[in-house]
């Protein structure tokens, strides 16, 4: 028996690393694709938009989030770790009192929530927040 404790531990960590390596880019690219679909590949500046989300969400079924970006015509929300990243898109009309909105969303697991704002001048701004989820919200 040459399967020592040390070897087993090494095996375990390497398979875990492999799993997370193969798992993450798939989700990231889904979100990137969804974001590219609205920006059309335009450059995105960090900041200029406020995204309020809890640091820890007990229940992934209802996570309150709030977005605000002065001068935005459109704000889109994405959840990078959900089966489908798109969450909601707020489009502001002529009588919008402020360029902000809040809603409650589902998060499947601990992940980054990303907000993309399209400004009046056609530029794009981005903000993201990591939310730790205790109970997933996608019935998995």
């Amino acid at each position: 028996m040459d399967l020592t404790r040390r070897k087993v531990l090494a095996l375990g960590t390497s398979t875990f690393a492999m799993a997370s390596l193969t798992g993450l880019p798939a989700f990231a690219s889904l979100t990137d694709d969804a974001i590219a679909a609205i920006t059309g590949g335009a450059e995105i500046t960090e900041g200029g938009i406020e995204l309020t989300a809890p640091e820890i969400a007990e229940n992934g079924n209802t996570v309150p989030v709030e977005v605000a970006a002065a001068g935005a015509v459109e704000i889109a929300l994405f959840a990078s770790g959900n089966p489908t990243p798109a969450v909601a898109t707020f489009k502001f009309g002529p009588l919008a009192g402020s360029r902000s909105g809040s809603t409650r969303i589902r998060l499947a697991k601990t992940q980054d929530v990303v907000a993309i704002a399209k400004m009046e001048d056609g530029s794009f701004h981005k903000a993201s927040a990591t939310v730790k989820v205790t109970i997933g919200g996608c019935g998995g």
Binding site: A88, F90, G101
Partner: protein
């Protein structure tokens, strides 16, 4: 048509002309995401509210595109400018083609 759909909206009764007011809306809807499996192991088909709009005297305030990642009983809070007395109209669009509407009057004073 999903059963038991009931819209609820909170709008102040009065405001000064040009005021910015906060509006809270909620509609009871199960928002079936299409990701869940039923007791028989088959996927439960998606059935959600896919769009929400708010208008004041025919002018748009906000238009929200809603995806399955929005929670059961979708809740939206936003701000609106009130230039004159009039009526807010709120509309929710269901996947099955139903449209749920509600309206609230606001006076200047």
């Amino acid at each position: 048509m999903a059963s038991g759909v009931k819209p609820r909206v909170k709008v102040p009764k009065t405001a000064a002309a040009g005021d910015i007011i906060t509006i809270k809306t909620l509609i009871s809807h199960k928002m079936e995401s299409g990701q869940r499996k039923g007791d028989d192991g088959n996927l439960i088909p998606r059935s959600i509210i896919n769009r929400f709009t708010a208008d004041f005297n025919g002018q748009n305030v906000i238009d929200v595109t809603v995806e399955p990642a929005v929670s059961t009983n979708p809740y939206f809070e936003f701000e609106a400018m009130v230039p004159e007395a009039g009526e807010f109209k709120f509309t929710w669009y269901d996947d099955d083609g139903s449209v749920y509407e509600t309206a609230k009057k606001i006076a200047i004073g």
